[in-house]
Symmetry: C2
């Protein structure tokens, strides 16, 4: 068996990820066939992330659709670790979650794991840093446009006290042995980090319905533990729909990283920064000279600008295939391809920024004053 050339854990993604291998290793299901068709039909205009296998794997998505069809309902849960500014890879998952909310009209829980990011020692963030990024990230998430009465943003450091009885019940079901096996904890892991999985599992138990979690595949270990303990606590096993990682600008391996700004486009990047980053750092599948490119064509499979258009920015199937053909044939040059991406990103960011500027008012609804948020803050968790 060939040695595994990549690593995917909730805290590290490196190498060129073999997603088929991950499906086998994690024991999840590929999102293909009739189930994928069904999701595409439901998502309509926003189905391209399924069709193009950006969301490529799942657990119990069929049961979720069944619960929905039979009127039993379900709810959505996703999250963000506020360790720095959000990039376009991060926000993709929130737009997808919003589209699901729009189609299914279901409650959506968004966890801000500021405690986790403080406890993750290798990041070396101060408590103030995590609070700063929590505020900033929440604005970006609010800009996505979730239903303010059906969405609850729970920031761990604010909410843990209120939900502590349920968190304790979760924690009592998970022992060190299991946590070490699933997460690779070591003797050096601090005891806050050892406890943290109880907190990430909490939102999946906020309703006695099935919970569907749209998130990158690296978060799946949490749902594995959740699925081991949920029923014994009187709840449903979590369902999940897993996304791939948007490749870093600098090449199709590892993950975009906040510590390497050239690998990612942040939501706060200016048009000029976008232009400079894509021109200077985007890994190209083009040839060394124009002549060679015209003659041999570009390689779209490793070309990050093409991959970003395919995975995120160009929803039109006809148009993306046209670009692929043009590029492969050599008729389209790398610079031209990059220009298409730059325009798409700039357009997206301009719209996002406009929504972000108006999102300040929404934040208090999502966190405290909307219908769902109010329900959560008035729930007596010692009684659940």
């Amino acid at each position: 068996m060939p040695e595994r050339q990549f690593t995917v854990t909730p805290w590290e993604v490196s190498g060129v990820v073999d997603y088929d291998r991950l499906i086998r290793d994690f024991g999840t299901q590929p999102l293909t066939g009739p189930l994928a068709d069904k999701m595409e039909k439901i998502l309509g205009d926003e189905a391209y992330l399924i069709r193009r296998h950006v969301f490529f794997s799942h657990r119990d998505l069929d049961l979720v659709l069944d619960d929905h069809a039979k009127g039993r309902g379900f709810f959505l849960y996703t999250g963000r670790g506020p360790s720095g500014p959000m990039h376009i890879g991060h926000i993709m998952q929130f737009y997808f979650t919003k589209w699901l909310q729009d189609k299914f009209h279901v409650n959506t829980y968004i966890q801000i794991t500021d405690d986790e990011k403080f406890l993750e020692e290798k990041r070396d963030l101060s408590y103030e840093d995590t609070q700063h990024w929590a505020r900033e990230n929440i604005l970006d998430i609010a800009a996505v446009g979730f239903d303010p009465d059906k969405t609850f943003i729970l920031q761990d450091t604010e909410f843990i006290g209120h939900a502590y009885p349920l968190i304790l019940k979760i924690a009592r079901r998970i022992n060190f042995s299991v946590a070490r096996a699933v997460f690779g904890f070591t003797n050096e892991t601090n005891i806050g980090f050892l406890f943290y999985p109880s907190i990430q599992i909490l939102p999946s138990l906020l309703e006695k319905k099935r919970c569907l979690i749209p998130a990158a595949i690296d978060q799946d270990p949490y749902w594995r533990i959740q699925r081991d303990i949920a029923e014994s606590l009187g709840y449903y096993k979590a369902a999940a729909i897993h996304s791939k990682f948007l490749p870093p600008l600098t090449g199709v391996q590892d993950k975009m990283s906040s510590s390497k700004p050239e690998t990612a486009i942040y939501l706060t990047d200016s048009d000029k920064m976008v232009r400079d980053k894509v021109k200077k750092h985007a890994f190209s599948g083009g040839r060394d000279t124009v002549e060679e490119h015209r003659r041999l064509g570009g390689n779209a499979d490793v070309d990050v600008p093409f991959q970003w258009l395919y995975m995120l920015f160009e929803r039109d199937d006809k148009r993306i295939e046209q670009i692929r053909t043009e590029y492969r044939s050599g008729r389209m040059l790398s610079g031209e391809l990059k220009k298409i991406l730059i325009d798409k990103i700039s357009e997206f960011l301009e719209e996002h920024r406009k929504r972000r500027d108006k999102a300040h008012k929404t934040v208090s609804l999502l966190k405290h004053d909307g219908a769902l948020a109010k329900e959560m803050w008035t729930r007596d968790f010692s009684k659940v």
Copy 2:
């Protein structure tokens, strides 16, 4: 080296405890000589617990007295795990803490570790059980008569959310390796229990002064970790004054246990129950027959009624030595000795019950509305 015949951990005390050995094993200081004299002088009428070595060991008590003398001040911290009704061994430590508060006029923090007791699996308490016992135990503690403006009862499940930023800072400093070495955690330990030491350390960091902890010696492992990390967080190493365990009624080994009601006198026991328990279960150092007893005398060293009088109920030195002499000589019979204890306990419990009945009003001051409680609930723990 003889094999150790006893075990003392925060969750288990068994065998006949060798307290000198504990001082060596734990690396604490015996409370004797000029330091003990100084404490006796300060405590005045309530000095007998020091004089009789019930509080027999310490860490940095000399530095605490020095801080007090020099006007730098200090504060007190003790606690209770609400796993059942409190017995007279439990309440002793609170009366001692109150006497210290009376003499030094210092702030006193009392932690109710309801989360710990829920997480301690072998107890198998429901969350509701822990809440019930927390309420009951807090009434008993309030009955002791702490200064309502200088005392804060923090119940973990209520307070953890408010103080979470500081708890996270503590947790980040303690790794699994250290926690396992100090507490003997295993692969089966649940992750809530692994995290819990961060919470028991919290109250020792509520002021930037030295903290003096009057508590039974079994809690010392927590202070060992606290002393390793406090200074790096900008606080003082905790000082401690350690008590022995009041021996179970049934004999001078192990600890009084809530699961064996005959081993302890509960604060809620009626006069009749006290009488019956002492008469029936108290381990006696007397002889098999009256004739033999008159001839050979009783053994006060293993006689639990005598030990309880010595350690707790008979403060008068002259009187306790008179009892010892009478008993040893055979002039005093076991039944007579038991009668003295029964009267003392009944008198104590009657007074305690009266104070407990009036304590309902004090609880809200101690938990929320007194000056110190208010200060704690309005403190911004993200800024400490």
